[in-house]
Structure formats: structure tokens, C-alpha cells
Amino acid sequence: CRHEAASVVVSSRSYADFTPEATFDIKKVDLHRLEEGPPLTSTLTREDGLKYYRTMQTIRRMELKADQLYKQKIIRGFCHLYDGQEACAVGIEGGITLSDHLITAYRAHGYTLTRGGTVREIMAELTGRREGIAKGKGGSMHMYTKNFYGGNGIVGAQVPLGAGVALACKYLGTDQLCVSLYGDGAANQGQIFETYNMASLWKLPIIFICENNQYGMGTSVERASASTEYYKRGDFIPGLRVDGMDVLCVREATKFAADHCRSGKGPILMELQTYRYHGHSMSDPGVSYRTREEIQEVRSKSDPISMLKDRMLSNNMASVEELKEIDIEVRKEIEDAAQFATTDPEPPLDDLCSHIYANEKSFEVRGATPWTKLTSHS
């Protein structure tokens, strides 16, 4: 997607000078078992544009900060970064509401933010501190917030869970739906297909979303899947293949999918074609199975944040200074959060064995050595 340079007016402008909203052409979506798809244009308000820009920039900077902290060994364990895929998280959230439900796999930091988590809580969770969103007990892969069910380590295991949540929505008559995400690697897990069947049979309000970032760890999609048309893998479930680097594309497709579910038609499957700049995790340099040129090409031609920025600037929806302001604010927020995450104390020792069970009277648990005893509280 090529962009034209925006003409910049140096003098300060009042907000009345900006275009309040503009309509953009978006890529046509490939359809499976659907007569019609989402619209070919999307109207973006200035307000939404700035919101999406800020959120995507926050995710981007947060992930880069996490990279830095991991290399400094302040974040330990495993860390799967989301930079490059911001348009997916932000676009999906733009198509649903916070009262809808969402579940994803381990590349979850972006979703934790869009679902209502704060950068502070997320970073403190990454460093395993007591103010973390999961009280420091979950780490990178296990972040949760209201109507966001994580953050799941085992590949594919979260999808049947999502169907269960969708069943609850239907059963309780809330008009809510559940978005269940998984990756191109997980698309070959048996439980995904079991879930397709159950969801379709019982017409559950679930949007299956396959975030296809072209690589399952180090294996490219062609080498892992007999069919790389992930939006068709649901077979009897209607599917859409969407440009996952364009936040407006993702938003329109999600809105379309949400309408489909809410009208009682049952599940729908979306494949978001996206890309991750980092490797699979921090242990993966990400260049042994793909070229640096490929990564660079995606960065220069399809970066989601640049795409939105160019759209807004060339349509006079924001000024360069304004966006720079946002960048600076985001950077500061991340810095503060990182500082907090580094200095916040670790959870107390008692927390180590709490929450094993619920509603049980406290029992003793062996600690790290035979004579240290901890008490497990429910």
C-alpha cells in the first residue's frame, strides 16, 4: 500500500481545521460460503483514528520495551511479542464492545491492552510483580481481565474454551459473542475442528479468528498445512480472509462477523493475514527461516501504524505534531510503566501456593525445601 507524503502546514491549527471523518477504500475480502461480505469502504472519524493510532503505538512501544527488558533479564521465562500485528487487536476491538468476550493464545499482550488492561499492569505482570494483572503469578502468557480469558500456553487449547464462553452467552441470552483467536500453527490441532463442529451444530455466537502470520514458530504455512486457506478450513462455517495489516479492514470484517453472530446465524471464521516482526519468542531471532529483506519489506510497505498515519495525514485528519505528541505521551507512559515494573516488589511468599483450590480450608504445602512450609489459602 503506497502512501503519498502529506503536505504539512507548520503553523498551529485549531481542531476545527481537521477533517472530522473520511471514507477510505479497503481491500476486498475473500469469502467462503457467503454471498456478501463486509463493505468495500470504511468511514473513520478523527476521534477513532487518533484512538486507534494511540493504541497501536502503545502496543508497539510496549512490545519493544518488553524486548529490551527481556534482554536485560528483567523479564524472564518466555515472551512472545506482537509488534507488526497491532491492527488485528485494535481492529477487532473496534468491531466489538468490551461486553463481548475474547480469548487468545500466548501472543496476548496486545489483547490484554485492548481489552482494558493498563500498560502498568501488563508490564508488572511481565516482570512478575505483585501489581501485575495476574498478581505476578501468570507472566507473559497468562494475562486476564474482564471478559478476556487470556493468555493461554498450550497451542489450540483456548479455542474449545471460547466455544464454551459463546455457549454461555447464548444460554444467558445476553446478545454477547465470543471471539476465539488462534494462529496458523494451531489451525492444525484436532481440537480446533472439534470446536468448529460443536459451534456449528449448536449455532454458537463465536467468531473464530485465525491470525495467520505466515509462520508457526519456524515453520512456514506451506510446510505445515495441506491447505493454507485457513478461512475455508471451517468447511461448513462461513469464512472471510482479511488483510490483517489494515486496521479498518479488520474492523469492518469484525463488525460484519459480529452482526452475523448476533443475528443467530451461528459461528463465522475470519482469517487475518498479518505478520510479526519479531521471531516466535525472545528465544527465536526470527531470521533463520525468513530473510531480513522480507521483514523489511513488510515494515516499509504494510506497517499498520504507518498505514493509519498516512491515511490520517493525507486526509487532513490530524497534524504531524499531534501524532508526534501522541508518540511522546506513549513513550512516557511506557517508560513509567517499565520503571514501575522494575521496582514493584515480587508477590509475597504466601501467594506461591494460594489459589490452588477454591473454598477449601487452608492446608500446608511443602515449600522449596522439606522444612519450609507454606500455607495454601483458597
Binding site: G77, G185, G216, P370
Partner: protein, 371 residues
Amino acid sequence: MAASARLLFRGAGLKAYTANVNSGAQSSFGTTLLRLSPNCSSQTKTQIKHASHFTYHPDPVPTMYGPTTKMNLFQSVTSALDNTLASDPTAVIFGEDVAFGGVFRCTVGLRDKYGKDRVFNTPLCEQGIVGFGIGAAAAGATAIAEIQFADYIYPAFDQIVNEAAKYRYRSGNLFDCGNLTIRAPWGCVGHGSLYHSQSPEAFFAHCPGIKIVIPRGPVQCKGLLLSCIEDHNPCIFFEPKILYRAAVEQVPTEAYTIPLSQAEVLQEGSDVTLVAWGTQIHVLREVVSMAQEKLGVSCELIDLQTILPWDTETVCKGARSSKGLQLLNSTCLTLSSRSTSPKTRCVLAVLSPLKSFYTSPYSFLFLSILI
């Protein structure tokens, strides 16, 4: 008895060792002994972070299997697989990412040497991998399946327990999948947390029909793995991942086998018998010398090696000759009295209530303070 264990550790007057939270205190392979305060409790004002470690104790150089070369644990696995692919034309290796060498480099070079029809990747589907392996084994191939981490073995649990283990029995010996060996990296590693640290052998330990083997080092690993591959029963071979690079020994280059279901007495002793497997053996070697030095307690150390079917003879002989038996491992293994012979039960009941010592009901979240 528990009392004998308390005798081992209490009253030793050892000091606490503090480590900086941010200094990456994971397993250090130095020779400093772990010093602990017996009164450490959550009531202390400052939380002391204990740095845990173990020191790897290499086996002596084996002389009866021919020339040896220096190998670490993953190289000994590669060597065993190399020997197998060379001598057995039906042998195939498959799993996630094995083609380029595997995430722990256990299969490096094998695809280039033996071809992509013998060493190939599977998609991300553990249940499928094991099911496929059972079929391949039943049809006559020597199938060596890799599960990328033991933590991911559960989707395949049904296939292992309900299919692989019972195949021979339910077909009246007409069919079997004895040619199947499943390999998986196992055990805590310091930073693995919930899903890269598990030791699931206990889940399989009550399933007749399969064998479970866990080596303590490269020499044992190669010999035991080759035994598993040769064995006419489906075997699960767990490889302690923390030892992949850390454990270095002189390992024979030719193929050799170490018998299954034979525990090894690593050290003779008269006061208490310690039974363990895998990484824990090295921790216990240190414990044994500490106990002798500080408390004058003579410990017998037994490496169980084969968890199922386990060597009751050696363990009971040890329990009988010492004053008590302790099972020490980073998992919870229950040896129910129903599964042991009357002789064993009697011996164990009289001499020591068999206690599993290292049960960890919470997940491996703060791994660097465990082990």
C-alpha cells in the same frame, strides 16, 4: 522414615544464601553448596531468594562399549538416533521441527544423512503424532516420535494409554506397537514456568503396557534410548532438558544398550536409601556427601532409570539393608501397595512408610527458587 530425613537436614546450622532478584539467579553449575536456614518461613520480614543449583556429576568413562568421544546429552541422543537409522532401515524419526535439528538440537544432521523420508516434520498436533506413530509401529516401522516438550504430551495421553499400551493385550498378541518410542524433553529448567518444565511420568506410571525411562546423563541416555528403541514395547523416553548442554561425558560412539527395568546403585550406604531419577540424581550426590560429612549418615543412592516397570528387587534390597527409604524427585510418584508384590509391601511397611518427598502441588511458576 520421615524422621531419618529430618536427621539428614535439621540442626546442621547452615546459613541462608541471598541472591539478587535481578541477577538472573538460575541454576549455577558451581561447586558452592546450597546453604539454608531451617527456620525460613513466610513470617520473615525480608524475603530471601534462595539460589538453587545442582552440580552435574559425570559417570566414569565406560570401557566395555568401544571407543568413546565427548558428548553432551543432546549429542548422545543424536548419536543413538544415528546408530539406529544406520542399522535399521525401517527406522523413522518425526515430530515438530525435527527436520532442521529440533529445538534442542537432538536431531541435527540426521535428515541430511538419511533423507527427508526418514526424518520429517509433523504439523502441530501431538495427538496426531502419537496416533500416527502407533500406526507406523504396528505396520512394522521403527517409529521414533518426538513430542517437543513433555508438557505437550497430554493431547496424546489417550493414544498412549488407551491405544499404545493396550494394543498387544487387546489383540491377543496379534498386533502390537512395540516399535514405537516417544521422546520428550522433561523436567524443570529454571525458566520454563508452567508449560516448559513438567515431569509427567507419574501420570503414565500406573499404565501397564508402556515403559517409561529417564536417564541421568549422556552415557545412560544413549544406552537406555537404544534399549527403548530395541524393546518390543511402546516406550516413553524423557530427556532432562536442563542436562542437554550441561551434562558432558565420554560416550561410546558405537551402539550399546543399557538394560531396562534395572535400577543402578550409585553409592552404597547403610543408614538410608535414596531413590531418584534424572536431574535429581546429581542433587542427591551432593546431598549424600553432605550427609556423610556433616552428619555422619551413610546414604545409599539408587537411580531408578526405568520408572515403569521399576526394579523392585534392587530398591527393596536397598530398603531392607538400610534403615529407611526415601523417594526424592521433582514429581509425585505414588507406589500404591496394590502394585507391589507382597514381599515388597511387607518390607516397605515394616522398615519405612514409603513417602514421596518432593510433591509440588503448585505450578512451576517461580522455578528459580525451586529445584
